[in-house]
């Protein structure tokens, strides 16, 4: 057990960054009232792979690479005694995806966690974080891509119903490196993720993809922040969400900042929400801040709507019953992103889960 330091500004809920979040459902992660256990739930794969080193190191050996004004991330950075470190050697093409999972000793316990993923120069790897079970977890994942490296980073939030997860997934991308992420949030009571990107040299690119499906009472929040501080970096953001059931609430914030030095920036961000029932609410706020006109392109789009009647009519006019037509449309809506995970078993598991939720929603 550890007592959390109290010298942090506790959010009141009026701050821009917190105005959508129900603070009383954060389990005390934001105000320090949480009782943190010494649990360290992140676990690596059982079989080793060439060029991949997985270890838990003391905080002194691995200071944070970045700062955050998020109070939960700051607490994780200050309080965690150890850092879970995935290290990919330079010049390696990692053969199989590296699966990271949670091992939870006591259901519902509280944890702060720091994770570092380091991808060496000219290396390629896929990391899949499978979050499941019941935790109250505040986490900072820092992902550092060396020049010319490639990382596909998949995180699955398939938490149990009462779980609380507040995290930053922060990528620091060096020259000509490529970061692809797929963030899937389908389980938990409250999930608040900050997928953030920091470009440190030109030629870097990031593609941030996400899907979420919030059911009755669930709050799923994704606050993207892409900082174009260097010339000639490229970013693409595409998040798709569905909501069903009373008080299902999703929040998508897409902050893209193009600084004065970031000439030649190419960015586009997109968020689409599908409302499947009454009583659900989707907040979607794209926000593009441009400090230079010398760019390749910058754009955003956001839509929130119900089923397209014309799509349903077309399918039904071919004999397909309403529930099956809805299933096809929703599967189609999500498949663009889910198919990018690149793991058939996970993709099918997610699709079957979505079918199940849809069947319930249709009743």
């Amino acid at each position: 057990m550890s007592l959390l330091a109290t010298n942090y500004l506790t959010p009141s809920g009026r701050e821009e960054a917190w105005r959508f979040t129900p603070l009383n459902r954060l389990g005390g992660l934001h105000d320090g009232s949480v009782d943190i256990s010494d649990a360290e739930s992140m676990t690596g794969p059982e079989t080793a792979q060439a060029g991949v080193k997985i270890s838990r190191v003391s905080r002194e050996l691995l200071a944070p690479e970045s700062q955050s004004d998020d109070v939960i991330v700051s607490r994780a950075q200050a309080e965690c005694a150890t850092v879970f470190h995935v290290e990919i050697s330079p010049g390696i093409e990692v053969e199989r995806a590296i699966h990271l999972r949670r091992v939870i000793e006591r259901s519902g316990e509280s944890e702060l966690s720091r994770v570092r993923i380091t991808v060496g120069e000219n290396s390629r790897a896929v990391v899949i974080v499978e979050n499941s079970g019941n935790l109250v977890l505040g986490e900072d994942i820092e992902i550092v891509l060396a020049p010319h490296s490639f990382l596909k980073f998949v995180t699955l939030q398939e938490w149990d119903a009462p779980a609380i997860y507040a995290a930053r997934h922060h990528a620091i991308i060096d020259r000509d490196a490529t970061f692809e992420s797929v963030t899937v949030t389908v389980g938990g009571s409250l999930v608040r993720i900050l997928p953030t990107v920091e470009f440190v040299a030109s030629g870097a690119s990031a593609e941030l993809l996400g899907v979420y499906f919030a059911k009755e009472g669930q709050h799923f929040e994704h606050r993207i922040h892409v900082d174009h501080a260097v010339p000639k970096a490229k970013s693409r953001v595409n998040y798709k969400g569905a909501l069903s059931g009373d008080k299902a609430h999703t929040v998508w914030i897409g902050d893209v900042l193009i600084r004065a030095a970031a000439e030649g920036t190419d960015t586009y961000e997109l968020n689409r929400n599908l409302l499947l029932s009454d009583g659900a609410r989707a907040d979607s706020v794209p926000n593009l801040e441009i400090e230079t006109g010398e760019i390749v392109g910058a754009g955003h789009a956001s839509t929130t709507g119900r089923f397209d009647d014309e799509q349903l009519f077309y399918l039904m006019s071919r004999g397909v019953p309403m529930h099956e037509a809805r299933r096809l449309v929703v599967r189609g809506f999500f498949s663009e992103i889910i198919s990018r995970i690149g793991d058939e078993i996970i993709q099918e598991r997610l699709m079957v889960g979505i079918d199940g939720e849809l069947a319930k929603a249709g009743q």
Partner: protein
């Protein structure tokens, strides 16, 4: 032998300006093996007739009846109408993102036939239907109507007609936007479906050129929401020569 019987059909749409009457008492009987052409100027209500029979929610039936072999079509949901044996080839087929043609076709065939087609024979069936319409096999992996050219959309509609084997098909301006070659290929598909399944066809068109490939037994002239003249194929020749002016005059 099937019969689609339309009696005194009156249809309205609700717009910002209130309810507007579009069909004002349409009588029409189509039986298996027959081809009926409905010809008329733009805005005469031809497409409304097609979509009303298919059950599009935009249209309100305010009078009359539609029966298929005695069963009340107007009481059926859209999917029930299709399963009863009606098919609408749309003028503007709808894009369904993320749903592949092959998945869509198999889902539709399963719904219409009441059981999933055997995979082995199904693959052959689809392949054959595609090659008959001059379609690239890679087509089946594309998303339904997404990024299709006008000609591809129409071929895809007629491919469904051939695979789903309805009793009565309504073709809503299937000829629009097709070049000569595509028109021939698509028309041949309709003729094949007709010969294979003794299909009854209601062909809605603005122009007579498709009638060179799909010979009508009956021609109906449509204006102001009703049929204003009926005859045999010779009526189409008269329309070709004189246009619709005499039917839409004040």
């Amino acid at each position: 032998m099937s019969t689609l019987d339309i009696r005194g059909l009156e249809v309205s749409v609700v717009t910002e300006k209130g309810q507007i009457e579009i069909l004002r008492g349409v009588d029409l009987t189509i039986s298996s093996g027959e081809t009926h052409a409905i010809m008329g100027p733009n805005g005469s209500g031809k497409s409304t007739l097609a979509y009303s029979i298919a059950g599009h929610p935009k249209y309100t039936i305010t009078g009359g009846s539609v029966t298929l072999d005695g069963a009340n079509v107007l009481e059926m949901t859209v999917d029930e109408r299709a399963r009863a044996g009606l098919f609408l080839a749309m003028q503007y087929p709808v894009e369904v993102p993320g749903v592949s043609v092959s998945n869509f076709l198999r889902t539709a065939a399963t719904a219409i036939r009441g059981e999933a087609p055997k995979l082995r024979t199904w693959v052959g069936e689809v392949k054959e239907a595609m090659s008959a319409l001059n379609m690239d096999p890679a087509f089946s992996e594309r998303n339904v109507n997404e990024g299709f050219s006008g000609g591809e959309k129409k071929r895809h509609e007629i491919m469904q007609l051939e695979l789903l084997k309805p009793k009565i098909a309504i073709l809503d301006e299937t000829d629009s936007g097709l070049d000569v070659d595509a028109l021939r290929i698509v028309s041949e598909g309709v003729v094949r479906a007709k010969e294979a399944n003794n299909l009854g066809v209601l062909l809605i068109t603005h122009y007579t050129r498709i009638l060179r490939y799909i010979k009508p037994d009956f021609v109906h002239v449509f204006a102001n929401g009703r049929i204003v003249e009926e005859g045999g194929p010779e009526l189409a020749d008269k329309l070709e020569a004189n246009g619709y002016a005499e039917y839409v005059g004040a």
